[in-house]
């Protein structure tokens, strides 16, 4: 399956580039947690293997036809002491988390924090990520990622409802 990353809420997912031979999930420090997931091989097609020692990613150059994708999702936006950072409004079972870490703010890491996930995302998955002032919807349709604001999403759903006559004329 393809491997994408969402480096920051609000940014369009991009293909993950393996540079170190492992994926870093989260960050190190007080109030934080960090995990390393090793990558064996090189390429754009990834397979996930669960071993007794942990998760391993296998990469190769085969043409990828799988509709699922692997995604590194950082849910944490800019600092705001009241903002909650996580994956929201996702249908249960659509995202399978295989590794998680944690990002936090401040040296002591006590002010606010949020998780980062390495996850397998099923085709047709929709979820929402908060950023400091707004939020964005992410949609994986099995081929590509789409990103839209809540207003754009509501607009799309309203037009879709109008075409299918799920409502009434005023």
């Amino acid at each position: 399956m393809k491997f994408f990353e969402i480096p920051f809420p609000g940014q369009k997912p991009s293909e993950y580039h393996n540079q170190n031979g492992y994926v870093i999930v989260g960050e190190a420090g007080r109030g934080r947690s960090k995990a390393h997931v090793p990558i064996i091989g090189e390429g754009i097609n990834y397979q996930v293997k669960k071993t007794t020692a942990g998760i391993i990613l296998y990469a190769d150059e085969e043409i990828c036809s799988e509709k699922r994708c692997l995604c590194l999702i950082n849910t944490v936006g800019e600092y705001d002491r009241r903002r909650t950072y996580d994956i929201f409004d996702c249908t249960p079972g659509q995202i399978r988390i295989i590794e998680s870490g944690n990002h936090a703010f401040g040296t002591a890491g006590m002010t606010n924090s949020g998780p980062e996930f390495l996850a397998i995302v099923e085709a047709g998955t929709e979820f929402r990520l908060n950023s400091k002032y707004t939020s964005h919807w992410y949609i994986w349709d099995g081929i590509e990622w789409k990103i839209e604001t809540p207003a754009e999403r509501q607009c799309r759903l309203a037009i879709k409802a109008a075409y299918s006559e799920e409502g009434e004329w005023l």
Partner: protein, 150 residues
């Protein structure tokens, strides 16, 4: 299906259309800061200045559909209420009593100097002009809520 004539009302000005961009009424306030961009209404056309329209209501919101129908029962008015921010505080705030109208949706700015509140309402014919004629947009005139004067 009822057809409405579309109006945009801002202070003492009315425009005989509602502007659509990217399939929706774009909330672009002049005063205040927008945190989370709200949603007023969708439209079946991508970009247009709609003068006559029908309105479809669904659980996800309203959709404006342009029409050429002649049966106009009411006005569909985009009321742009505002209170000027820094640099224009002496100008009056524009506030409207919309209790006689049917409110479809509204968006507002949440912080910063000044504020705006945009409401999409179905109002009786002549509502927008009646309000605009009453608003005096001069310095040192006190802002007050404007009611429809019959």
């Amino acid at each position: 299906m009822n057809a409405f004539s579309c109006r945009t009302l801002r202070g003492n000005k009315t425009f005989p259309y509602i502007s659509i961009q990217n399939h929706q009424i774009v909330f672009s306030p002049r005063w205040g800061t927008v945190n989370d961009i709200g949603f007023l209404s969708a439209a079946s056309v991508a970009e247009e200045e709609i003068s006559t329209a029908c309105v479809f209501h669904s659980v996800h919101g309203h959709v404006i559909v342009p029409t050429n129908g002649n049966i106009i029962n009411n006005e569909l008015v985009l009321v742009q209420e505002y209170s000027p921010g820094s640099g224009a505080k002496r100008f009056p705030a524009f506030m409207v009593d919309i209790s006689s109208c049917k409110l479809l949706s509204e968006c507002r700015t949440q912080k910063g100097s000044g504020w705006e509140k945009w409401s999409l309402v179905i109002a009786p014919i002549g509502f927008a002009k009646n309000i605009a004629d009453q608003f005096v947009n001069k310095r040192d005139v006190l802002g007050e809520i404007i009611h429809v004067r019959l």
